[in-house]
């Protein structure tokens, strides 16, 4: 028994090294003063962090990525919350199929999705680049919103809706006064997860970006094709911290929802 535990411990440790090692190395190299990536770093500076803001493309595409995530999130919420509600509240024909369609963007390889979007939105419908990006990002965010909101609704006791209606509230009023407040943390968590999904997305965006329009991850790809300096390492560290913060809040929100449940 004991040996097994030690073996498991070593295995777990190796998995962590394998997963986190590269992140640690990247973090170290970002503080290098020289112009090439080096590990371990031979000097210390924050120059490359400063450089992030001096490369004009980064700031610009950062804004694009943010706007894209926010706008896509808004649309995904407008579609996703009612969809999650209907999937949890009602029994109807074709429910399983609909559920499958809504989560399919998680299962279908991004590169296939990206290529499909390119063929239709850009080539066939001749949509402007921003419109294509917006639709593409909404599509990849939607399943995350639906899944996280659904898991909130799975804990929701729908008889309190009936209580509200019996006390005189309309159906719509009931949704806003009774349902929404109780799935609030699920919605916020869904928004955060979807935001990351969109903000870090490469495989869809790479097909949908075009001349003069790019997202931050695509701009980073372009940058590493031309430069070898540690700017990307520094930027990666910043993105890692943002991601970690978001996930921390998600954990807090979904974790807290366990306590507010009866």
């Amino acid at each position: 028994m004991r040996e097994k535990h030690i073996g498991l411990g070593i295995f777990t440790f190796l998995v962590f090294v394998f997963l986190l090692g590269p992140l640690v190395i990247i973090s170290f190299t970002s503080f290098e003063q020289g112009t090439v990536l080096r590990f371990p770093p031979e000097s210390f500076s924050l120059d490359w962090y400063k450089n992030i803001f001096e490369v004009s493309g980064f700031l610009e595409t950062f804004k694009v990525s943010i706007y894209l995530s926010l706008a896509g999130n808004l649309l995904a919420l407008l579609i996703g919350i009612p969809a999650a509600y209907a999937l949890n509240r009602f029994d109807f024909k074709g429910k399983a199929l609909l559920e499958g369609i809504f989560v399919s963007p998680i299962i279908i390889p991004g590169i296939v999705l990206g290529f499909t979007f390119l063929r239709f939105f850009i080539t066939y419908y001749q949509l402007p680049i921003y419109a294509g990006l917006f639709i593409g990002h909404t599509v990849i965010m939607l399943p995350f919103i639906i899944r996280v909101v659904s898991s909130s609704l799975a804990n929701f006791d729908f008889s309190i809706e009936e209580a509200a209606v019996s006390l005189g509230a309309s159906r719509i009023g009931t949704f806003f006064k009774v349902v929404l407040p109780n799935i609030k943390s699920g919605i916020i968590a869904g928004v955060l997860i979807a935001f990351l999904e969109s903000f870090n997305n490469v495989d869809i965006s790479v097909f949908m970006t075009g001349p003069g329009v790019s997202t931050l991850p695509i701009e980073m790809l372009t940058y590493v094709q031309n430069y070898f300096d540690p700017t990307i390492a520094a930027l990666s560290v910043v993105l890692m911290i943002i991601t970690a913060l978001f996930m921390f809040f998600v954990e807090r929100l979904l974790g807290l929802s366990y306590f507010t449940k009866r």
Binding site: D157, S159, I160, E162, A163, A164, V165, S166, L167, G168, A169, S170, G173, K177, V178, P181, N182, T260, K261, R262
Partner: protein
Amino acid sequence: MSLFTLQDVTVAYQKQAILQDFNLSIGEGELVSLLGPSGCGKTTTLRLIAGFLQSKQGKFLFREKDYTKVPVNKRNFGFVFQNYALFPHMTVFDNVAFGLRQRKVSKASIKDRVLRVLDIASLKGFEERFPAALSGGQKQRVAIARALVIEPDLLLFDEPLSNLDANLRVNMRVEIRRIQQELGITTVYVSHDQEECFSISDKVAIMNKGIIEQLSDPATIYRQPKTKFVADFIGFKNFIQFDSRRQETDGIAATVQGITLTVQQQDNDTGLVGAIRPDDLRLYPLDAAPMTVENAVQGKVLISTYLGRSYQYEVKTSIGQFTVNDDAAAAPLANGQEVVLEIPKKQIVLVD
């Protein structure tokens, strides 16, 4: 005058009819229970009255007005759910105030009315608590207060006490009855607990498979069940299927397999099934039976079970098997013992 009437309503889930040509009429100020085994359609009836379900046909009349198509939120009925259904994100005060806010009652008046009803429900001091911080009994009182505060025209309870433990159940049902009588609110109360229904109701409707078999005051149901189902449900465990009956001067002479029993006439019952409670039967050893035994039937003890306060016997006779509770026997009867079974003529109820 009746407050509301369900007239020939029919409810079906998918293709299966749960209520068919169902009728029910309840008088102003009454507390009427729907009592019956699980799945007999009690909740369905209650949800139909509340408006959560629509009848396919028939009518729901409330104070002589046609309410059949009136939506739930326009009915002004209070509904108390089995699982309380409190709003978990609101304090006790806000839970109770919810109905008043929907009615656009002024802020000062809301505060007044909520505090008054919390007082009635013995919830003073709990205004700022959230439901998660309440016990089951307190939650149920909030649910009742929330339904009461809107001054409903009708109060509906669906097994409100089934999630509480036994002691609390007794206290709560006394409180529900007290509040109901104090405010004089007409109430429909659903339960599958006989004692609960009998103890708080003006009238009890015994339901079976979507049909009301009997609607009477509790004492009448207890003494004079109308059908075999009702009799069985309220504890008449012994049934005799008579072949015929005829009127005699000292009662009804009912015959089964050549043996004639005398039944003291109750009301104007027409049934051919005699129902007797185990408690009402007497047993005597064959050699020690007194001469005055009414409706004596000879038999044999099959099984004797010790129940603490009494013995329960299964007795086999030529007219069937009987369950007898005998607390008088000083010396218990043994298995296989020959006995005389007394079926007191007053205790036989003839049901359909």
